[in-house]
Symmetry: C2
Subunit: 285 residues, 2 copies
């Protein structure tokens, strides 16, 4: 599975993430095509040299010529796309994705897929609070994590191919997790934190406090600016794992609340010391 | 109450905040003294030109010569200090503080204070996750909020003096709130957010996730590195307001959890849209 044999790359879904993949791959010398329903996205990408070729429909000419396909679609749209258009894919093509949830996507896609193409799932943990190919920027990959989530159906070659794609894109840390491990981790690290930021904004009308907020409040709520269509889908597709994480966190907040209500200074201090000690591990990288 | 008549300034408690006040005021040309029980702090500050004069005891010579006194002590220590040493203060002296909670400090101090000195409370909303005069830095005031919290006992001159002190120190926004308004605000903007960061760290042993955390998780938990002695005291001294804020936030998280458990996509999206709209107000400053 040499990269030389994957020189024609197709990006399906040319938003922030798809656009950033396209920019990085084109700069690396690949021939990059894109399919997106939004005509302005294709036009913008062609005019700005982000892609070599584009279409607003899954053009069989483009599909049949693509050695590798990167899907940067919402999970439900991704499944529909595979169902409707996989017949036009090139035999031997390697497929990957950027989807932020894995268990409820990877197995379904692999189950319906033609046997002569392979889907190896990945989650590039990068992003910005802006949307669209117009805001795409391959620098978002630098310093970020890239996680490959193979199943028993994947070949070792596909896992290696996918890892090398992450390296080529410029990610700093490449890991391999099972879809289930990935979803549990992402439920805590990303989805729970977005829930917290949203709840901080919606629990009361706090706009009159804008004059009094410092950096820590702004840091904490930066992700409260949230794409509701995408994140509601990600939450719902990872429902069980996220519910577990929310329950663990709410339970811990209730414990802290109890210590405060009881005036238990030593109990509060113990929690704070544990927090400080654990947080120190996150400074070292 | 001209500044010219307040040229001798005493800082009581020479930690990060007291040290930063001292640096700023000395640079502005004031004669700055400091009292701190920690001998190394006084020595460091003298050797590094942060103060002009220092002592590890409340030296009557220093106290009697100080036109203005800034208290940068823990709330309970502050009250004890006033009780024990106020007799040595200069008649007509103006006192202020940096305490992060107000209702349970300001009234007690004013009630016990000599009638010929005045205490006007203030909260400089600045800080760093490091401690001690060795880490003091007057740049922490730039861009930050400074809140004066007068009571009915304060003179308009003292309020003006305190506001002008905030301006001189370099704070960007100077506000006036009642002690009660201040405590409600700080319960939400600062204390609740610290509770959240602590609970995120203590709800499970998440150290194995360090390889997968992105910027948003690091931003959210930066304040989980917390001075347990100081923050447990601040929480307990603002208990009622913080319990109200925690209850509101936990209730909202439970609502989000219910929407997720019910698979209520539109309900989730509505919360996310409200969150995004409200957060936009915090970007404008």
């Amino acid at each position: 599975m040499e990269w030389i044999s994957k020189s024609n790359i197709l990006v399906v879904g040319l938003g922030l993430m798809g656009g950033s993949y396209a920019r990085a791959l084109k700069r690396l010398g690949f021939h990059v095509s894109a399919v997106d329903v939004r005509e302005e996205s294709i036009r913008y990408a062609l005019e700005n040299g982000i892609i070599d070729r584009g279409a607003t429909e899954p053009d069989p000419g483009i599909l049949g010529a693509s050695d590798a396909v990167i899907f940067a679609l919402y999970p439900t749209v991704f499944k529909e796309w595979i169902r409707a258009h996989q017949a036009a894919l090139k035999p031997g093509a390697m497929l990957t994705d950027v989807t932020g949830v894995k268990s409820c996507v990877v197995y379904d896609i692999q189950a319906m897929l033609r046997p002569d193409v392979e889907f190896i799932a990945a989650h590039p943990m990068a992003g910005r609070e802006v949307y669209g190919v117009e805001n795409s920027d391959e620098r978002i990959f630098l310093g970020a994590n890239y996680i490959v989530t193979p199943t028993g159906q994947n070949t070792p070659e596909a896992v290696e191919w996918c890892k090398s794609l992450g390296k080529l894109l410029g990610f700093s840390r490449i890991s391999v997790l099972s879809p289930e491990e990935h979803d549990e981790m992402i439920g805590f690290v990303s989805q729970l934190t977005h829930c917290i930021a949203v709840a901080l904004m919606t629990c009361s009308d706090n706009r009159h406090l804008v004059d009094y907020t410092g950096d820590s409040f702004r840091d904490l709520t930066r992700i409260a600016n949230i794409n509701d269509a995408m994140w509601s889908e990600l939450f719902l597709m990872n429902r069980e794992a996220l519910l577990r994480q929310m329950d663990g966190f709410i339970g811990e907040l209730e414990t802290l609340r109890g210590l405060l209500a009881d005036g238990d200074r030593e109990g509060l201090r113990e929690k704070m010391r544990l927090s400080t000690e654990r947080r120190s591990y996150f400074n070292k990288r």
